[in-house]
Symmetry: C2
Subunit: 341 residues, 2 copies
DNA sequence: AATGGTACCGGAACCGCTCCCGATAACGTT
DNA sequence: AACGTTATCGGGAGCGGTTCCGGTACCATT
């Protein structure tokens, strides 16, 4: 099967006429090697395309150069983008990601912990681990002492390293935009209330309404999931409620699109009859019917920043600041119109 | 940092009063251990929660129990579902996935090959690697002698292990359904022609038309990408062409939804003015406006089957059959109607 | 000329596990 | 009673790196 016996550090050392430790030193970029020898060894390494065998490295050094990736869901655009960014960043630092359990099933936790005990990953990236038992996960991780950074679940009070987007600001921005267009009866289709990002967007919405002096109407707030279906169902309920509204803040674009489907089905036009703003700026948003006005967040950059932070903690022991918050951006398209009464 | 010194096989051996090789034997489920000793050792292992350190294992045995995952894209629903299935299956067999390069950039190939040379993965799962230079990848892999299975790019003639869905049959099924409703002028919005799956769906479309005796009209075939945007743009071109059509086969649901957006923008109704059928059955399809009739494929099962095949090849050296084809299923909703002239 | 300091390199002991091979005991066999 | 078999186990040599520590050689000090 493996016809090509791989070169080892011994082969390099022999060919270069030096000892094994010396080769190891240039491999790891350590001092105590003269420039000439270093160059000579490096040439030989390049020439024979030698790659150190990571298992041996890990055994000897207790480092594996692999990172654990625990994500609640892959099929979500947000996740996939964050993961894509994280992976690119990791490769640039010489790390690889190992897939941990992809669900937040409590029963999957033992499997996930094996990432730490058996595979000895150097650190773990938790992506939006905000399911019900998340605190259990996180405290356990904290206790284990291994470097962790979380994202998608901004919990500044925990002191954990994390990167996220300013969801309160984003929710405020969306609502203020609608307010600025003259809308006063603004409904909201929220994500799951046990997700911090949903709470924060809701908080932003409430903050914006509060500054206008008018109270939020509980009948206009519908909680749901992040799925398209939830927006569809939520809008149906909103329409049945009979509480009038002229605009909607949907906490993500999929919800927004589901809501639009329900609106169309009910014979209402967007934005003529009701304005709607989404969140995320997924690719479909631009070619939606109508093109969706939304709040964009820098997903790939979130993944990159989180990984950068993780690597920093692994290699330097600490990182300051260890909490990063990205700003959102309002993308105006044509799903919102001025409210002329 | 690491306060908890991990138990080693030595600790287990000592506590059980046996030698290290014996513990290793029960760890790897090998014979040559009496039932009593085996049980006794197993008890101790369970009791102290011992986990063998995979780096040491890999170093000694040349096995890593990790699989490489090379996927062209994470942000696609098809991919994420396949990956989810693959990961579950891998865990059930004691394997983990390591993320390889996520793009099919030719320049990423060296990085990807490091998965093989440096991390010594036991096998590689190629998901829809059907970019232009894919043949280079695959032949190189074949030569390297390491187990590979591909999916999303059915190439039976290559002899490579692969699992996929019957796209020719799926394309035929979609087209025949439209034909059965009385449509004769059926347009097609295809995926990228350098993707095998797109070619096959096109082939199915052509086969179905051929059986009716009427030739396909090249003006009604538009090639594009898999993206929503492509469906939108493709439909615009179709409408400009002035060649009449009453139904459309979109090669995936995102294309279909993009096309519907363009149709709505042009004032055409679905399905009253034009019927449209998609492919994949993504979650949004059900709550689309109108709910999308489509061809469903068992995505998670594809990932599971591919991984099962890979593990089998790794452990048994071979697998027969090494090519698996899944069937598609027609999901009838309301984006198609009978053509009454 | 003896001493101390520094830059550079090698010997050798691991890291935790697998696996080959040889040892032992308990059992038939002739 | 001497022998071969079989089941069960342990010794010990690696796997391919890292790292501690000690040894040169060469220079500048006093």
């Amino acid at each position: 099967m493996a016809n090509t016996k791989h070169a080892t550090i011994y082969d390099v050392a022999e060919k270069a006429g030096v000892s094994i430790p010396t080769v190891s030193r240039v491999l790891n970029n350590r001092p105590d090697v003269s420039v000439e020898t270093r160059q000579h060894i490096q040439d030989i390494i390049d020439q024979m395309g030698y790659q150190p065998f990571s298992n041996a490295r890990g055994l000897a050094s207790k480092r594996t150069y692999t990172l654990g990736l625990v994500a609640a869901d892959f099929s979500d655009f947000w996740f996939s983008q964050v993961i894509t960014g994280a992976e690119k960043e990791a490769h640039e630092h010489g790390y690889y990601f190992m897939l941990g359990s992809s669900s937040c099933n409590p029963e999957d936790e033992p499997k996930f912990l094996r990432l730490l005990t058996e595979r000895h990953v150097d650190g773990v990236l938790f992506i939006r681990a905000s399911c019900a038992d998340e605190s259990g996960h996180l405290t356990r991780l904290k206790e284990s002492g291994i470097p962790v950074v979380t994202t998608g679940n901004y919990l500044p009070e925990s002191g954990l390293a994390m990167v996220d987007v300013d969801n309160i600001g984003g929710g405020r921005k969306a609502t203020e935009y609608l307010l600025g267009l003259g809308h006063t009866r603004i409904a909201m289709l929220s994500g799951p209330p046990d997700w911090r990002s949903a709470c924060d967007r809701t908080e932003g919405y409430l903050q914006a309404l509060r500054t206008t002096g008018m109270p939020a109407n509980p009948d206009l707030i519908i909680e749901g999931t992040w799925l398209h279906k939830s927006g569809y169902l939520g809008m149906k309920r909103l329409l049945e409620n009979k509480t009038p509204f002229t605009a909607v803040f949907a906490q993500n674009d999929r919800i927004a699109r589901g809501a639009i489907s329900a609106l169309h089905e009910a014979g209402r036009r967007v934005p003529e009859d009701v304005s709607i703003i989404g969140y995320d700026d997924i690719p479909e948003a631009e070619f939606s019917d109508p093109p969706l006005t939304t709040i964009r967040q820098p997903m790939e950059e979130i993944g990159r920043a989180a990984t950068r932070l993780l690597v920093q903690i692994i290699e330097d022991g600490e990182a300051t600041p260890n909490q990063i918050l990205f700003d959102t951006e309002l993308i105006v398209r044509s799903s919102c119109s001025r409210f002329a009464q």
